[in-house]
Symmetry: C2
Subunit: 368 residues, 2 copies
Amino acid sequence: MKKFYIAKSRRLRGTPYSSRIENQGLTAYTVYNHMLLPAGFEGIEKEYFHLKENVQVWDVAGERQVQIVGKDSAKLIQLMTSRNLSKAKVGRCYYAPIIDEQGKMINDPIILKLDENKWWISLADSDVGLYAKGIASGLNLKADVSEPDINILAVQGPKSFKLMEKVLGKKITELKFFGFDYFDFKGNKFFIARSGWSKQGGYEIYVENRKAGLNLYDELFSVGKEFNLKPGCPNLIERIESGLLSYGNDFDNGDNPYECGFDQYIDTKSDINYLGKKALIKILKEGIKRKLMGVTIDLDKIEMTEELPIQSGKNLIGYLRSAVYSPQFKKVVGIAMINKEYWDKKTPFELEINGKKSKGSVCNLPIV
Amino acid sequence: MKKFYIAKSRRLRGTPYSSRIENQGLTAYTVYNHMLLPAGFEGIEKEYFHLKENVQVWDVAGERQVQIVGKDSAKLIQLMTSRNLSKAKVGRCYYAPIIDEQGKMINDPIILKLDENKWWISLADSDVGLYAKGIASGLNLKADVSEPDINILAVQGPKSFKLMEKVLGKKITELKFFGFDYFDFKGNKFFIARSGWSKQGGYEIYVENRKAGLNLYDELFSVGKEFNLKPGCPNLIERIESGLLSYGNDFDNGDNPYECGFDQYIDTKSDINYLGKKALIKILKEGIKRKLMGVTIDLDKIEMTEELPIQSGKNLIGYLRSAVYSPQFKKVVGIAMINKEYWDKKTPFELEINGKKSKGSVCNLPIV
């Protein structure tokens, strides 16, 4: 595939860590929430194996925060998501679909409750802050919506626990999955959650002070030598195999949360109030006709820039939305929106790319 | 400067024209409204001189449209902008600041009135569709908000008029600046506006049918040979010299429309109703303390990824937000947010980049 450079500008915001990662072997960027997100160092397969066995530090400042503060903040948060947050606890993270009035997906962030009247929405790639501002203005809510200067560092991989313990002390190992707390490093407080965009374990450090964050970054790399720490980034192979969905890739504003398999994050029964509730009740009643599933394809490479139709003879099985060659499965693995009649069948399918047909089959997520 | 590749994925949507421009010498992309936007071919200076003397076709599909349809569509449109659109005419384009309730900028699109109850917002780089959905839901408006599959081709440069006349007929030359109409090409209707993101003259073709659009694309390049047509893209040198502002580069949600020099698009006196009106009345009364201006700097290159402070000795003059070397002025030209006490002075300033100080001065926009 031909490669193209990224043209830098202030509009594609740099992060506090950009100059560091660029000196640590970065080769490629993507753009996420109007910000540069690192997308490659030594090569995706090397990085995949390294992530699954060691520890990586990722500059994921592109996971911007929408901060909502004020006495109507909980009401505004609930209006945007189908997940019941009425019993949400301070100190916990909640994966939650953000939907519009038609019940279609807008984002799938982690929502963090910092206080009864203070929340962060840790975003996938869309301007949810504008959605929140629109609703708040329309309903005249007492809720201040802003994007604070928070720049997340993710520490991911099986050795992340030992590394973080060595840098931040024993207390960090007591943090439960999707819990968060403040931790001290050289006199600065860091908001840290046990979370991250891989299934290999680890933490996300919500850096609120740029200078202190760079000191912590350098300390992680200094201490990290003994754990074979490397700079990294969300890994396409790992995320597809793990079934970690990506807004804009696997689903978008054309899809509803049932089609994305988010059933456990949809409350249609209690009396909570959110936009799109009526639409979701109707969808639930009628049943969905397609959903996201895994696929494997007999190919040794693929590049996606748009969804690709998947056929079985003349019948349309669905659309491939993300895909990459997996060195583990020795074929291409992907995530596809599959029509209902093919959910349970092990029907082999054809995928035609540039006139060349390949064989494949549908499977569940994660791909095992 | 080190260069980095862009990592492609479905999330950074390709356009109908991507495969064509990639075979026509494209070297770099940027990302605009979650879509690939071409950012370089033969080199920015060569492209600058070519654009000012000839004609270029640009793939600006990244200028996505928010379509608003319904009996409350005009009300919803007006709620988002400080420009008085109560007398807007069908068939006309309106440059209009989109602002939030605090009177801060969200976008600076072209708003097109297609019908009494049908509007397009031709976007700069932010998800205004989500803002519109939020307001519509909050106020329970009868307005359907969507992103139709419209992929703009811009034809820009002084020879664009002759080229378009040859391809589409005499009628196209009668289109007034910021007017639009439908034109026929080989049995397909094309929505064409006399507009574009340069000051060199030209058109924007709102392609609603992908296949017909590719036929028109190919015809433009076939007929274009005699006009020295080349593929191109918005040119940073031309836009800065012309004073064409860019959301995300020159201004963002931290700035108000007075600071951006949008005074003529702000109505605080009539009884129209828009979000942020109160805030703007207050800002107008108090007066602004900074505004966007041009600058020239004695440098032969620059790369921007964040705003840079501009000093005069120990005094802060403002912040540089966009800049590029201009082969015409033989120095760097830029757009900066300048503090009030320096608006009228020809005070030379210092800009420090990587520890190296350069001399410069403030000027008006456009830079002449």
